[in-house]
């Protein structure tokens, strides 16, 4: 075989790698456009319409709904309450998940897959079912109160649901698998030799954790926190059920406005607000990741 034959024949249908990229990306671009960009655009459009009493909508282009949201103390409180609760949820989920993820990461390989499966298994059960589970546990006649009453520690049932506490507990449990999986994904850089090196240089256990283990796993921590924050701020079934109409969050308010009060423009502008919060969280995340590198 000579050199000329070895050379692939140039046909007009043959594309080089660079030309191939847009073609390969096209399907996902299409899916994204149809399932994300178009609905987002529709929401944006809807938020600029004017609500009319009785659930009707008048098509115009006005920023009035946004102005109402920004000037009404109730909605601002809603935003802060959401960010505040979801931050707490994120931090507590991280603290609870970190030791579990570390334990699984260090476990014998044959145990590791079983443990990972156990972490994932709650995801097989719908969040609604798991939330009702928490109602059974935390409710006035629930497991915990029944126990507390039987021991005589309390006379009347303690309020464990239909308040912030119930929502936080429920969401933490529901979001922990995501946090644990993100953390484990980020543990790749964690070489046990490095922790040993720290110890041989005189670092006690906690110092090793603080100076070596946590910094090395920071990318996983950042990822897990982003994911849990975003999932918690957009989740609505659990806050709805465990909040019992007394916990006001963005997601539940959007639901109420769109389904109950039929004020679609308001629901749409609140949705845009959530999108802005997502954007802000993403910016913070990418800043952190960049700083870590």
């Amino acid at each position: 075989m000579n050199a000329a034959q070895a050379e692939p024949a140039r046909s007009p249908f043959r594309l080089n790698g660079r030309q191939l990229v847009p073609i390969l990306i096209l399907p996902i671009l299409l899916v994204n456009a149809i399932s994300f960009l178009w609905p987002t655009f529709s929401l944006l459009r809807m938020s600029l319409n004017e609500p009319v009493a009785g659930g009707a909508i008048r098509e115009t282009l006005t920023l009035q709904t946004y102005i109402d949201v920004m000037t009404d103390g109730f909605y601002l409180e809603l935003v802060w309450n959401s960010i505040y609760l979801c931050s707490i949820i994120t931090i507590v989920t991280l603290i609870l998940s970190y030791p579990i993820a570390l334990f699984i990461h260090r476990a014998d390989p044959k145990w590791r897959s079983i443990l990972t499966l156990m972490v994932i298994s709650p995801l097989l059960v719908s969040a609604v079912v798991r939330t009702y589970g928490w109602v059974i546990i935390l409710g006035d006649q629930g497991l915990i109160n029944a126990f507390l009453m039987s021991t005589g520690l309390v006379e009347r049932p303690a309020r464990l649901i239909f308040n912030n506490f119930g929502v936080v507990v429920g969401l933490i449990e529901i979001l922990m698998p995501y946090m644990i999986l993100s953390l484990m994904a980020g543990f790749g850089r964690l070489d046990p030799r490095l922790e040993e090196a720290a110890q041989s240089l005189g670092a006690k256990r906690f110092t090793t954790l603080r100076r070596v283990t946590i910094p090395l796993t920071a990318p996983g921590i950042a990822l897990g926190c982003l994911l849990v924050f975003v999932l918690s701020i957009s989740s609505f079934v659990t806050p709805k059920l465990l909040g019992g109409g007394r916990v006001f969050l963005l997601a539940t308010e959007i639901y109420d406005q769109s389904i109950v009060l039929l004020n679609w423009p308001l629901a749409a502008s609140l949705s845009m607000l959530v999108l802005v919060i997502f954007g802000a969280a993403l910016v913070v995340y990418s800043r952190i990741v960049k700083a870590l590198d």
């Binding site: 070489d191 030799r193 910094p215 090395l216």
Partner: protein
């Protein structure tokens, strides 16, 4: 095993008296696999001892047990006569240079080296000075602000060395700390390590599979083979009086010829007879060993003055800088390796030259054949 009396178990264990670091019947198994078996080594205060052995013989495993990073399956580790197995790694005051360096990737070179001093609560200005000095020592002062991944392998290795040296530990454990350096830098670092080690009197265990390193730097050498101690002694002991064929072959090159003992000092190898003064009670089938550079090569017919003599033809001559390596084929097909220094007065031979080989009965080492 059953026959071993308590006295006998104590006997091979190193003398406890003046030992700074003592490994007593140390044993480590991973499942069924014995990585370290019945290891007895006593290291005196301020001594630099080499742990020499082929890959996988258990050197790193031994160091990790000393450092407290893995626990012994059985046996004891003593420092100044006190057992330290229950002491956690961070309380052992030992500096360890990892074979894989184990530098902290999220810290600069400077922070890496400072880490151990910070753990000891050294004041800031003193800490800075000591870190700078340690980095100077390994010739990396100019790279203090770099991250480890921005360094070459050899530079990383020197950071690892500086990080362990800077804390001036009472015991220094070095796991092939020079394996990735070029010949010149390696020579310099050998001198530096030896210098610091002696100046501060740090008891050191130096793992290597480079025999030149072990012979040139260390007070004593412990040769390990498949998890067991094959021999421990001074470089001269190990090189001149190897205890086993394994040690003889592992430390330096050596010729190996099968033969029979005729009497206590005469060996026959394929109808030739050679004299030896090195036979310790072997008889029957034996292996005769001679170091290539202990063989003198002369033109035929020179008087032999009582030394062993063999005739042969040069089959191959290889120039390797300091020395010339010859392969000499004896008349009956046996091949011997011979080394001579290049330059100076020694004359050189080339392919096909007929030569006479001579060596002293003192250099004729004999081991039983089964070993």
């Amino acid at each position: 095993m059953l026959a071993t009396s308590p006295v006998a178990t104590q006997a091979p264990g190193a003398e406890e008296g003046d030992a700074h670091l003592l490994l007593d019947h140390l044993q480590k198994s991973f499942g069924d696999f014995q990585a370290v078996e019945d290891l007895n080594v006593s290291v005196r205060r301020g001594e630099l001892i080499a742990l020499l052995g082929p890959s996988g013989c258990g050197k790193t495993t031994t160091l990790r047990m000393i450092a407290g990073l893995s626990s012994a399956t059985s046996g004891r580790i003593l420092v100044d006569g006190r057992e330290i197995q229950s002491l956690p790694a961070h309380d052992r005051d030992m500096g360890l240079v990892f074979q894989s360096y184990a530098l902290f990737p999220h810290m600069s070179v400077e922070r890496n080296v400072a880490f151990g001093l910070e753990m000891r609560g050294i004041a800031r200005d003193q800490l800075k000075a000591r870190v700078a000095k340690a980095l100077e020592l390994v010739q990396l002062g100019h790279l203090a602000q770099r991250r480890p991944r921005e360094l070459s392998g050899g530079q990383q290795q020197r950071v690892a060395l500086a990080r362990a040296l800077v804390i001036e530990p009472s015991i220094l454990l070095l796991d092939e700390p020079l394996s990735n350096l070029d010949a010149k830098l390696r020579d310099q670092m050998r001198v530096e390590i030896r210098d610091i080690q002696q100046r501060l009197g740090i008891t050191s265990v130096f793992v290597t599979h480079d025999q030149v390193e072990a012979l040139s730097m260390c007070d004593r050498i412990a040769v390990m083979d498949k998890g067991r101690l094959a021999q421990i002694g001074t470089p001269q002991d190990i090189y001149e009086r190897p205890a086993t064929p394994f040690v003889a072959e592992f430390v330096g090159r050596i010729n190996k010829l099968p033969g029979q003992m005729r009497d206590n000092s005469t060996i026959t190898v394929a109808e030739r007879t050679f004299k030896t003064t090195r036979n310790v009670g072997e008889s029957g089938d034996v292996t005769m060993m001679i170091r290539p550079h202990r063989i003198e090569m002369v033109k035929r017919g020179t008087p032999s003055d009582g030394r062993n003599v063999a005739h042969g033809t040069i089959a191959r001559a290889t120039y390797v800088g300091d020395i010339l390596e010859y392969s000499v084929e004896l008349t009956d097909g046996v091949t011997l390796a011979v080394e001579t220094a290049t330059g100076g007065h020694s004359r050189t031979f080339s392919h096909g030259d007929e030569v006479e080989l001579r060596w002293s009965p003192d250099d004729t080492i004999v081991f039983g054949a089964q070993a």
